[in-house]
Subunit: 441 residues, 2 copies
C-alpha cells in the first residue's frame, strides 16, 4: 500500500478499507509514515469526513494501539461521563462518588491542564499527597473495591491518539468531527467504561459555539459509542461563563467538598452546578441500568436516590475513601484546602445585571495567576483561583463584589483582576437566560 | 504570525494577505515551518484554491526564492513554450531553433526524466559531449549570441518551488490548479522568458484527462502570465498515445534531426508532430510580436516563414550551432545517434486499426528498458527506445510491424515488448479521431 494513494482516496471522498486505515494509523504510530503525510491525510479527512464504519474502526485502532484497562472482574456497571470542556467544570469529582454510592463503578482516566483549559489531575493534586500516577493494576483494584478511582493519563493508553492529536494541534486539523469522536471514544473505551454520558457544551465558553455543531458532535458520539457496543446518552448543555463559583485547583476541590457534604447550610451549591450534576447523574444511572439489562427506573425516583446519597453523606464518604486510598490527606481536605494569601475583589462598576462572563478569558487569567500552564510540563500553583460571587443573570449593585481573586502576589493578582474586569459584562437589563439542558440524544 | 492560524484561514477558504503568504512560503523554504504544517496548508489549498492575487504572489515568492536569469542585454523577444508533458514530446528541440532562426530568442531551462515522463536534459545528453550544466552567465551569453540555449535545472533556480513540489509529490497535493500554475510560471519567469505559449495536453495520455480540467489550467496559466506582465497564449491539444514516432532519448533526438533537415524525402515527419510544431511555432511568433509591440502578422504568412527556415536548413544550422557551443558532437548527431543493438518488433495480431496507444504504459516500458528512471539520480541508457511505425487511426494488416524496440539485451527487450503488446489496442473499425488543437486561449 502507498500512503500517497490513500491520501488521494480520502481527498476524493472515498472511504478507506479497514486494511487501508490500519496501514495509515499503525504506520504513523510506528513512525513508518511521516508527519507530513499524516497531516495531509488529516486535512483531507477534515474536508471529506469519515463513514461511520471508518470512525468506529479508527476508535478501534487507537484503542488497541496501547494498554486497555481490564475491568472484567468488576461486576457492577462501569460508567463514565465525558465533557467537551468548560472553565470551572468540576462535575467529575461529584459524579464519581455519587455513582459509586448508588452501586455502580466509575473509572476515570484524566489529563492535566494546558492553556485555558483545566485538568482533572491538577485539581486532584491540590489535595496533599494525592497520587494519580498509580499502576493499571492498582486502578483496577480500586474501581473494584471502592467503585471509583482516578488515573493520570499515561503514554501506555492510546498512544496512536496521543500522536495524532499532537499533530492535529499544530496543523489546523483539530476541528474534524470523526477525529474528535475517535479521540474521545478511544480513551473512554481504554479505561473500561461500558456506559457513557457525553456532556457536549455549547455556547460562547465552549468548543462548540452553535447548537448545530454541538448537536452534530453529540449525535456522532452516541452513534459511534453504540457501534462500539456501549450504552450511551449525550446532553447538549449551555456553557457561556464558568461552571459553579470556583475556578482554580484547590478552590474547585473545596467547592466539591461543600457540595458533597451538603453544607454549610447558608452556602448552598451554585444552582447551575447542582442542576447539571443531577441531570448527568441521572443519565449515568440510565446507561448503567441499560448496561445491566435492568428495567429503567423513573427519572423522579432516580433523582430522589441521588439526593439521598448526598444528604446521607454516603457520596462524601466514597470520595474521602478514594482520596485516602490514593494517598491524599483527607483531614486537610475536610478542613478546606488552603488558598493563596493575597485577596483582591472585582467590584461592579455600576448597578445592573451580569450579562456575560467570557469563560476563555477567565481561563487565561488563571494561567496568568499561575494556576494553569502555557506549556506542558510547567509547574502549577494549586492555591490560586477565583470565586465568582455573581453569575450570569444575577442583579448587582454598584460596588458589590463580582468575583474574589486568590493570588500568590499582588502583581499577578492585579494582572488577573484587569483581565477579569474585561471578561465580565454588565447590562442595565437582565439578559435572556438559555436552558441549561438544550437537547438530549 | 502563527502557521496554524494561517492553515485554518486557508481551510476556511479565506485569502492570505501578501505578508501571510510570504511568511508561509519563505518560512518553509528556510526550514522554519516544518513539512507537516506545509502539507496541511497545501491540502487546504487543494480544497479551497487561491485567489488570482495569491497565485501571482506565490509565483513571485517562488521566483525570488532563487537566482533569476537576466536577459536584459538580449534585445529580441525572449519566448518559450511549456508543455504539461507527454510521452515522446520532443517539440522543444524543434521550436527553439525555429524561433531563433526567425530572429527571436528561446531560453530553455529543463529537467531530467523521472518515472514514465521523459526529460529534456537526458535527451540532449544522448548527444556525445553535450553539456547542460553550464553557468547562468554562459547561458545568458548563448541566448544572446545564438538565440537559443539549454540549461539543466539547478538548485539555484526557484528553490521554494523545488521544495514545495517535492512535498506535494509525496502528500497527494500535486493536483491543485494554483499550485500547478505557480510551479510552472515561476520557472518560466526565472529563465527570463517574456512571451509564453502553453501546450496543455488533454486526453488519456495526459495529466489532464478532460477538456474541462485542461481548459481550466490553460485559462489559469494565461491569466497568471498576464498578471505577471507576460504575453501568453495557451493551446489545449489532444494527447492520447506518444507524440511522433520515437520514444526514448537518442531516438527522439534523431527524429528531431530528420525533422529539422527535412529529410530523407521518403521519411516525412510524423503528421501530428509536424502540425503541433507548426501551430506552437506560430503561437510563439504571435507572442513574440506582441512582446515587441509589432503589428501581428497573418497566420498564413507566419506559417510560410516557419516552413521556409526549415526548408532552407537555417533551423537545423541553429541547432547544430548551439549543440556545438554546448560541447556536443555535431558529426555524431548528423550521422544519427547510435541506438541499442537488440531489435524486437511488436506485430499486429490481427487486421484492423490502431485504436489506442496507452502513453503512460509506453513510458513505463521505456523505464524497464533502462531509458528512464525509477528514482532520481539513477543512470540512464540513452540508446534504448521505441519507434512507432503505426499511430492511432492507422490501418494494419495481420503481422505488420506496429513498433520497433531497441533494447540493450533481449531480457529487458522482451519485458518491454510484453508491456507494449498490452499498451496497443486494435479495433476492427477506424477509431474516431479527435482534433489536435482542441481550444485556444
Amino acid at each position: 500500500m502507498n500512503p500517497v494513494e490513500l491520501i488521494k482516496k480520502k481527498r476524493r471522498g472515498d472511504s478507506l478499507t479497514p486494511a487501508e486505515l490500519k496501514f495509515m494509523v499503525e504506520g504513523y504510530t510506528l513512525g513508518k509514515i511521516p508527519d507530513y503525510q499524516m497531516s495531509a491525510f488529516l486535512m483531507a479527512t477534515l474536508f471529506k469526513g469519515m463513514s461511520d464504519d471508518e470512525t468506529a474502526q479508527l476508535v478501534d485502532l487507537m484503542l488497541h494501539s496501547g494498554a486497555v484497562v481490564n475491568l472484567d472482574k468488576v461486576k457492577t456497571a462501569k460508567v463514565d461521563k465525558h465533557s467537551t470542556g468548560g472553565i470551572g467544570d468540576k462535575t467529575t469529582f461529584l459524579l464519581a462518588p455519587i455513582l459509586a454510592s448508588l452501586g455502580y463503578s466509575y473509572p476515570t482516566i484524566a489529563g492535566r491542564s494546558l492553556g485555558h483549559t483545566g485538568g482533572t489531575v491538577d485539581k486532584l493534586e491540590s489535595i496533599p499527597g494525592f497520587q494519580c500516577h498509580i499502576s493499571l493494576k492498582r486502578f483496577q483494584e480500586l474501581v473494584g473495591s471502592v467503585g471509583l478511582a482516578f488515573l493520570g493519563q499515561t503514554d501506555e493508553i492510546c498512544p496512536a491518539d496521543k500522536k495524532i492529536y499532537g499533530l492535529r494541534d499544530v496543523t489546523g486539523t483539530v476541528e474534524s468531527l470523526p477525529l474528535i469522536v475517535a479521540s474521545i471514544m478511544s480513551k473512554k473505551l481504554a479505561e473500561g467504561a461500558e456506559g457513557l454520558v457525553f456532556d457536549v457544551k455549547c455556547g460562547s465558553g465552549a468548543f462548540m459555539k452553535t447548537d448545530k455543531e454541538a448537536e452534530a458532535l453529540a449525535k456522532a458520539l452516541v452513534a459511534t459509542a453504540k457501534r462500539c457496543k456501549r450504552k450511551a446518552q449525550a446532553l447538549v448543555t449551555t456553557m457561556n461563563g464558568p461552571l459553579g463559583h470556583g475556578v482554580g485547583n484547590a478552590i474547585e476541590i473545596n467547592e466539591c467538598v461543600a457540595f458533597l457534604r451538603q453544607g454549610p447550610a447558608d452556602q448552598p451549591p451554585e444552582p447551575e452546578l447542582w442542576n447539571l450534576t443531577l441531570e448527568l447523574s441521572a443519565a449515568l444511572v440510565a446507561v448503567a441500568e441499560e448496561t445491566e439489562g435492568a428495567k429503567p427506573s423513573p427519572k423522579k425516583e432516580v433523582l430522589e436516590r441521588i439526593e439521598a446519597v448526598l444528604r446521607s453523606g454516603q457520596a462524601y464518604s466514597k470520595f474521602l475513601e478514594v482520596v485516602s486510598l490514593q494517598g491524599g490527606d483527607t483531614e486537610a481536605l475536610d478542613q478546606g484546602l488552603p488558598l493563596a494569601p493575597k485577596s483582591l475583589v472585582v467590584e461592579a462598576s455600576e448597578k445592573g445585571y451580569v450579562s456575560e462572563i467570557l469563560g476563555e478569558s477567565v481561563g487565561q487569567a488563571l494561567v496568568e495567576l499561575g494556576g494553569g500552564r502555557k506549556k506542558a510540563g510547567e509547574p502549577i500553583d494549586h492555591g490560586v483561583g477565583f470565586w465568582f460571587e455573581k453569575r450570569e443573570g444575577q442583579a448587582v449593585d454598584k460596588g458589590e463584589a463580582l468575583v474574589r481573586i486568590f493570588a500568590r502576589d499582588l502583581k499577578t493578582g492585579e494582572l488577573a483582576k484587569n483581565m477579569l474586569i474585561d471578561a465580565i459584562r454588565l447590562s442595565p437589563r437582565p439578559p435572556s437566560k438559555a436552558n441549561l439542558i438544550r437537547t438530549r440524544f
